[in-house]
């Protein structure tokens, strides 16, 4: 098997606050292979975005990576000096943020922003960079790119701006794209276009994609694998069909049950009672235990570690004593 593009091992991210250290990410591990789309889902505050930001090295103080390692194609990047990490950002890892309306500098032409990024990372002349920028705009589906390249961000619609943002993220052919809720701020019809664009780009260029979202529909459509995060940990990770059709972790079950279907069955949607614990009050043992219908004594004491079960991997004591092989 080839080396994964991104390999995160036992990542821990902490925020120093007045009331002590808050652990936002606590022992997260996952891999993304070349050309693979990993969906990361979870409620707000589960640590999805922080995971993405720590991969690209943009955790702002008082946050810091407190442990674990992040490897990009084998190279350890979580402890690189800032200047070397800057060279990786935008060149080897592209990032797309949630709100395209505020991601672009309003005072510069979109072309200048793309050319600036290209010339930061690639040794190209102004004219060559401009030609490349036009090609990129065409590739992300902006009509009349040779004209629109001289437009300002406010002259583009939200969906078009997100395309520009994507063009910026891929302008140096990165190996990995981190898309942090790329469709949340967009209309539903535009969402589908952006999702298929990200998917196509990943396929055409063999780019690995980490897609952070809370929208299970987007995950089901786009991802090859999915990681369900809860309170800074990965509750379950596995191929998307398996996790969607046959979720193992009670939290993942709850998430899947909460997706409305158009099939017409008039069952009530499932709800997960309660809400995610605050970082300052994460319960002992399994952090999901106060909301879990299946919790037993051990869940309140021991923290479950992720264990493989078939193609999936799940951190739940319910599956502890079941031999891995017999799971199907």
């Amino acid at each position: 098997m080839t080396e994964p593009v991104l390999s995160v091992r036992d990542l821990r991210v902490e925020f120093a606050s007045r009331r002590g250290t808050l652990r936002a990410i606590d022992g997260v591990s996952f891999d993304i292979a070349k050309g693979e789309v990993l969906g990361v889902v979870g409620e707000s505050g589960a640590g999805k975005s922080v995971t993405g930001l720590s991969v690209i090295g943009l955790i702002d103080p008082p946050g810091r990576i407190a442990g674990g390692e992040i490897r990009l194609a084998g190279l350890r990047i979580d402890n690189l000096p800032p200047e070397e990490m800057r060279r990786i950002r935008g060149k080897r890892i592209g990032m797309i943020f949630q709100d395209p309306l505020t991601s672009l500098n309003p005072l510069y032409r979109v072309g200048d922003q793309i050319i600036e990024t290209i010339r930061t990372h690639l040794n190209l002349s102004e004219t060559a960079a401009r030609r490349r920028a036009i090609d990129l705009l065409a590739e992300v589906g902006i009509p009349a790119p040779e004209r629109r390249i001289d437009g300002y961000p406010h002259e583009f619609s939200g969906g078009m701006r997100q395309r520009v943002v994507i063009a910026l993220a891929i302008c140096a052919e990165p190996e990995l794209i981190i898309a942090d809720e790329p469709t949340t701020a967009l209309d539903v019809s535009v969402q589908a276009q952006i999702i298929s664009l990200i998917k196509r780009l990943g396929r055409d260029h063999g780019t690995a994609v980490m897609l952070v979202t809370h929208d299970m529909g987007v995950i089901a459509e786009t991802s090859d694998r999915v990681a369900v995060m809860y309170a800074g940990r990965v509750a379950e990770i596995g191929p998307v069909q398996d996790v969607v059709r046959n979720p193992l972790h009670p939290y993942a079950k709850g998430l899947m049950g909460a997706i409305p279907t158009l099939a017409g069955d008039d069952k009530r949607l499932m709800q997960i009672p309660g809400s995610m614990p605050r970082l300052s009050a994460i319960p002992r043992g399994c952090s999901f235990n106060p909301r879990c219908a299946f919790a037993f004594d051990r869940c309140r004491v021991d923290r479950p570690e992720p264990l493989p079960r078939g193609a999936q991997s799940v951190a739940c004591h319910l599956y502890d004593d079941v031999p891995t092989e017999s799971a199907a």
Partner: protein, 326 residues
């Protein structure tokens, strides 16, 4: 764009008209100007001659129209104390005031922006905290006190800089400049600092606050995610976005720099319009006061107009998007 400029220009003319009414009414309400001109023992008949020669016996609306028509051609009548046309007096004094105001503003902008950027980027350094403390002093100390302290330190104690006047000036046509001689430049230093210190601290605090605000925005985070260099992010992307409020304040402050130069000019005996105005107030020389009022408001209005136009240069969103928008 042209329509916008024209609309603003028409508004500016309206403002000038209103100021003209106020300036004119000073003649009516600040006592009988004839008494200021003639001596105590002038006879009533002679007074009437003076009154007639100045047109002060005409009906008020006639006088107003005449005053306004003259003012539009920069004729402001004759000074009571100097017996010279006011416009000549103002023109003689204007270069001194404008040079001082421009130097003070340049000083304020350059140091204000540099210190503001520095204290935003290196928030926790000792120097940044020192800047903050200095800016507090600059905002709270009155201008005349700063001027006097500077004179005491650099002119009286150290003897490095002259304590008053413009030094040697060179005539360039009707414009007299102190920028071309060493003594003229030396004489400019302290008045410029005195006059510009308040604006400098204002700009510094503004730049710092705006910069901190901009550095938190999504497009700066995205610029970092694109791997741009820190320098490009701070000075290309962030600084340009802080400049709009800075242009506003610096532009509007340029007007008050000219207006406040009255105090600085008095402290340093700077032969500018402000000093002329102070002398005019002491002697109830109304033509000069009225003309000064009109001149200062003309400068204010012009600056406002220029600032409005400058906005559209910096911020493309304010530019008319005719033709480009699809």
């Amino acid at each position: 764009m042209l329509a916008f400029t024209l609309r603003r220009a028409v508004q500016a003319i309206g403002v000038m008209f209103a100021v003209g009414i106020i300036a004119f009414s000073m003649f009516r309400f600040a006592g009988d100007p004839v008494n200021q001109i003639v001596s105590i023992d002038t006879s009533a008949a002679e007074r009437e001659v003076v009154r007639k020669s100045l047109g002060l016996d005409d009906p008020v609306p006639v006088q107003f129209v005449r005053y306004f028509a003259d003012a539009a051609q920069f004729k402001f009548g004759v000074s009571y104390q100097f017996r010279q046309p006011v416009s000549t007096l103002l023109m003689e004094r204007m270069p001194a005031t404008l040079e001082l105001a421009v130097c003070a503003t340049v000083f304020a902008m350059v140091f204000g922006i540099l210190m503001g950027v520095y204290s935003a980027l290196k928030r926790d350094t000792v120097l940044a905290k020192l800047f903050q403390a200095v800016s507090l002093v600059g905002i709270s100390l009155p201008t005349f006190l700063i001027g006097i302290l500077l004179i005491y330190l650099f002119a009286v104690t150290l003897g490095w800089l002259p304590s008053f006047g413009r030094g040697e000036v060179v005539k360039l046509g009707w414009w007299s400049t102190g920028l071309l001689t060493l003594s003229g430049l030396k004489a400019l230093i302290m008045p410029s600092i005195t006059l510009g210190l308040f604006q400098m601290t204002l700009i510094m605090r503004l730049v710092r606050a705006e910069m901190l605000e901009v550095l938190r925005t999504d497009y700066i985070r995205f610029a970092r995610a694109r791997g741009l260099t820190t320098r490009a992010i701070h000075f290309g992307h962030a600084l340009k976005n802080t400049l709009i409020p800075v242009i506003t304040v610096a532009g509007l402050q340029f007007g008050s720099v000219i207006a406040f130069s009255i105090i600085t000019e008095t402290v340093f005996q700077w032969p500018g319009m402000g000093l002329l105005f102070v002398q005019a107030v002491q002697n109830v020389d109304i033509p000069i006061m009225a003309a000064y009022l009109l001149m200062v408001s003309l400068i204010f209005v012009t600056i406002n107009l220029v600032v409005d136009i400058l906005y559209t240069v910096v911020d493309p969103r304010l530019r008319a998007t005719v033709g480009r928008a699809t």
